[in-house]
């Protein structure tokens, strides 16, 4: 491991460790309505808006009302986004004269950006007007992670025995107090490193060899900032963060990684502050952290060992460079890829379809688990869902009624957590099986052999996990995939959340039981170990067969120099 690899990893992990406590505490203060330093500029504006709209921040919604408001609002955005994509040609800020999107692509894009997935069945620089980029899709890249954050905040409030709060108030605060201030700072860091920020047309370059090169431009830096801060991952251009226009230097790469991780990691600490269980928060951070490092190893080491068939050609060095960019180094590349999968951002700094099989397995595993810090708020919800299941399993083992944060976990809670847990693999496995069984699904396959199966599996998983990255050989622009993956992103986003909100409501109604010496502790090494065990065993049981058909089969065939 080189000095540069060590440096980027140490700096990234160091930044997360330094920021987790202050940022997590800050978020907790904002959503407990305690004073913060941003009150002065924002409070008067927010209060005016709330007064005009008749929103009383002190009146709490019930879990059902909160969930309804959240889903209605989110669907309204999806419909609006669809309409604006369908009339793109008539809208302003369109220097490259982009035409309207066809219905299925507009649906896929609106659903995908409206659910924080940002799966892209189009290439940004050849499809979207500047207005669609910043006025439509960038707007969704702010508000959909904000919705993810409100889900987690409302759930944490319920866990800590407080009222759910008001969805609209939480939504506004998440945007004004958390996302916007960070986005402003990071936009300037990205421009400083060379990312364009202009409303001008594409740049026409007359090269020294007598050719013309058209270079994509636009307000890319402000897009990059919220793309990563909101763990969105929709690229301004097709190659996303592999494109030097979106990610020009090793330092901009580092900024993007930091942006992705800041909030998902801090949210875990917010849980600790708001429930008064900081030690439990550290346990959960350690569990997610251990999985983060495992994924990192599965991405870094294959790249250095190389592709055995290419190694046999006898080139100068073994590092696998297919579908990678040199300027990040292997350290910067691996930290980016680990982060984009762990935090379910889905922006990419490499071509995922070209990744070696074990790396492909790591990408898939991160999306299967969907709780390695995860997307903004949602990863924390998934982790808590697994905590409840782990608590239940521990209760079974020692024959005691399981408790979590002083509430008894009974049949209803376990059922709801299990439903929420099982929905994810259900969507993935059924969606994949369907796509493999239908000729129209197989038509989308690009690479032959097991990789072709992995392309389908990856696409469906990416939609269900609201990740948005792709094994991009897959014919994502086929109407079948546009519609299927569009629907999957919506089900994947909201179905399990509804189960979790019902769970929150039922926990809220329960009386708190006092902690005794007999209470099972949901913190510390023992519980962390049980939790990791539960996560690994449950997911391995669910996903081993598909993984064996895809990346594992390919791994062993590649070792045997078998090509397709």
């Amino acid at each position: 491991m080189s000095l540069q690899t060590a440096a980027v990893w140490i700096v990234v992990i160091g930044i997360f460790l330094v920021t987790v406590k202050p940022l997590g505490t800050y978020i907790a203060r904002v959503f407990s309505f305690q004073p913060t330093f941003l009150d002065r500029p924002f409070r008067p504006i927010e209060n005016t808006i709330f007064r005009l709209l008749g929103i009383d921040p002190s009146v709490s919604m019930s879990a059902k009302q909160y969930g309804t408001a959240l889903i209605l609002t989110n669907f309204a955005w999806i419909i609006l986004s669809y309409i604006f994509l369908r009339i793109q040609g008539q809208l302003p800020f369109n220097p490259e004269h982009m035409k309207a999107l066809n219905p299925q692509l507009a649906f896929n894009t609106a659903a995908s950006f409206g659910t924080n997935t940002n799966w892209q069945a189009y290439a940004g620089e050849t499809t979207m007007s500047l207005f669609s980029q910043f006025g439509n899709l960038e707007f969704l890249q702010f508000v959909t992670p904000a919705v993810g954050g409100t889900m987690a905040i409302a759930f944490i409030r319920a866990l800590s025995g407080k009222k759910m709060g008001n969805f609209f108030v939480d939504l506004v605060l998440m945007c004004t107090r958390v996302l916007l201030p960070l986005a402003v700072v990071f936009t300037f860091l990205m421009v400083w490193q060379g990312v364009p920020e202009t409303l001008g047309p594409y740049l026409h370059v007359h090269t020294i060899t007598g050719h013309t090169q058209v270079v994509t431009r636009g307000p890319i830096a402000s897009w990059e900032a919220i793309e990563h801060l909101g763990t969105n991952g929709g690229g301004f251009t097709n190659a996303n963060s592999a494109n030097p226009l979106e990610n020009p230097t090793a330092l901009s790469n580092l900024f993007e990684v930091v942006m992705m991780g800041l909030l998902p990691v801090a949210f875990f600490y917010t849980l600790g502050v708001m429930t008064g269980r900081r030690k439990m928060a550290w346990t959960l951070i350690s569990v997610a952290g251990a999985m983060y490092l495992t994924i990192a190893a599965m991405i870094y080491f294959p790249m250095h060992l190389g592709n055995p068939v290419i190694n046999a050609l006898g080139l100068h060095g073994h590092i696998y460079r297919v579908g990678t960019e040199l300027r990040f180094g292997t350290g910067g590349t691996s930290v980016f890829e680990t982060s984009t999968m762990a935090f379910t951002t889905g922006s990419v700094a490499t071509a995922h379809d070209s990744a070696l099989p074990m790396t492909g397995l790591a990408y898939l595993a991160a999306m299967f688990l969907n709780l390695i810090f995860g997307g903004k708020g949602v990863g924390l919800l998934n982790m808590l869902m697994l905590v409840i299941i782990a608590v239940f399993l521990m209760g079974l083992m020692v024959g005691r009624t399981p408790e979590f944060l002083g509430k008894k976990i009974e049949a209803r809670e376990v059922s709801l957590a299990s439903i929420a847990f099982l929905l994810h693999p259900f969507i993935i496995l059924v969606g994949t099986a369907l796509s493999v069984a239908l000729p129209v699904g197989l038509k989308g396959v690009y690479n032959p052999g097991p990789q072709g199966f992995s392309e389908i599996l990856y696409g469906i998983t990416s939609g269900a996990a609201n990740n948005g990255s792709a094994f991009a050989g897959l014919g994502a622009a086929l109407p079948y995939y546009e519609v299927t993956i569009g629907i999957i992103t919506i089900v994947g986003r909201f179905a399990s959340v509804m189960a979790m909100f019902l769970l929150a409501e039922s926990l809220l109604k329960k009386k708190t039981v006092p902690t005794t010496s007999g209470t099972m502790r949901t913190e510390g090494v023992l519980f962390g170990g049980v939790l990791i065990g539960a996560v690994v065993v449950l997911n391995a049981l669910t996903f081993f067969p598909v993984v064996a058909l895809g990346p594992l089969a390919e791994h062993y065939l590649l070792l045997a120099h078998h090509l397709f």
């Binding site: 540069q4 980027v8 808006i49 929103i55 309804t68 209605l72 609002t73 309204a76 609006l80 050849t126 439509n136 702010f142 506004v172 916007l180 986005a183 400083w192 060379g194 364009p196 920020e197 202009t198 409303l199 740049l203 370059v205 090269t207 020294i208 060899t209 050719h211 090169q213 058209v214 270079v215 994509t216 402000s222 897009w223 097709n238 190659a239 494109n243 226009l245 230097t249 090793a250 592709n307 050609l313 006898g314 080139l315 100068h316 579908g323 990678t324 960019e325 040199l326 300027r327 180094g329 910067g332 379809d353 070209s354 070696l356 099989p357 690009y446 990789q451 390919e554 065939l557 090509l563």
Partner: protein, 198 residues
């Protein structure tokens, strides 16, 4: 529909703030504070824009250094158009795809043919394996050094002069810590161009 009013109101407010004010204000300030970067890092030669400093360009003449293989295509015809900076992308060849291995073999053969005396064991992977964006502006130092004899023969420039140009176009790691030591191919070739055309 008791949520209709807050739904519409909050959406309009957030859109004005995040969908309109944010990108426009960020663009305005960036144009004032970082005009060079914000407009695409334009490199000018004799008053003409000849490159964006951060984006790679396609070079296949013997008298220039070649960059990484680029698999970008024309957006309308879908025919290969290397270093198309208005349609970034990669080959998407999987690791067990025979086409990937055959492409790499063909690129090795082409390098051997155009660089007499070059051994396979001298060719670094980055010179025969396609990049992720198709716009990677960099190659490794090794990839530049092995091309010096070819460029020297085609241009008449001396080996030692070209070695100087290569080291001038070499930079990194950033701050001594991040990324790696790499050659910017476009910058290097602009220097070669200047040396040949005064």
């Amino acid at each position: 529909m008791k949520y209709l009013k807050p739904l519409i109101g909050v959406t309009v407010f957030l859109w004005l703030l995040l969908g309109l004010a944010y990108p426009l204000v960020m663009t305005g300030i960036s144009q004032l504070a970082f005009p060079y970067q914000a407009n695409g890092s334009q490199v000018k030669l004799n008053g003409r824009v000849v490159a964006s400093a951060i984006v790679g360009q396609y070079f296949n003449q013997k008298g220039y250094f070649w960059g990484r293989p680029s698999d970008t295509v024309n957006a309308t015809t879908l025919k290969p158009q290397p270093y198309n900076a208005a349609n970034s992308g990669s080959s998407n060849y999987g690791p067990t795809n025979r086409a990937l291995i055959n492409t790499i073999k063909a690129r090795i053969a082409h390098l051997e043919k155009t660089n007499p005396g070059l051994k396979v064991s001298q060719i670094p992977p980055d010179l025969v394996e396609g990049s992720a964006s198709g716009l990677d502006p960099n190659i490794s130092v090794q990839a530049a050094v092995i091309q010096i004899p070819r460029v020297a023969r085609a241009t008449g420039l001396s080996h030692s002069y070209l070695r100087t140009l290569v080291s001038q176009a070499t930079s990194g790691p950033q701050w001594g810590l991040f990324g790696r030591r790499l050659v910017n191919v476009t910058a290097l070739n602009i220097d070669v161009y200047k040396a040949r055309h005064g």
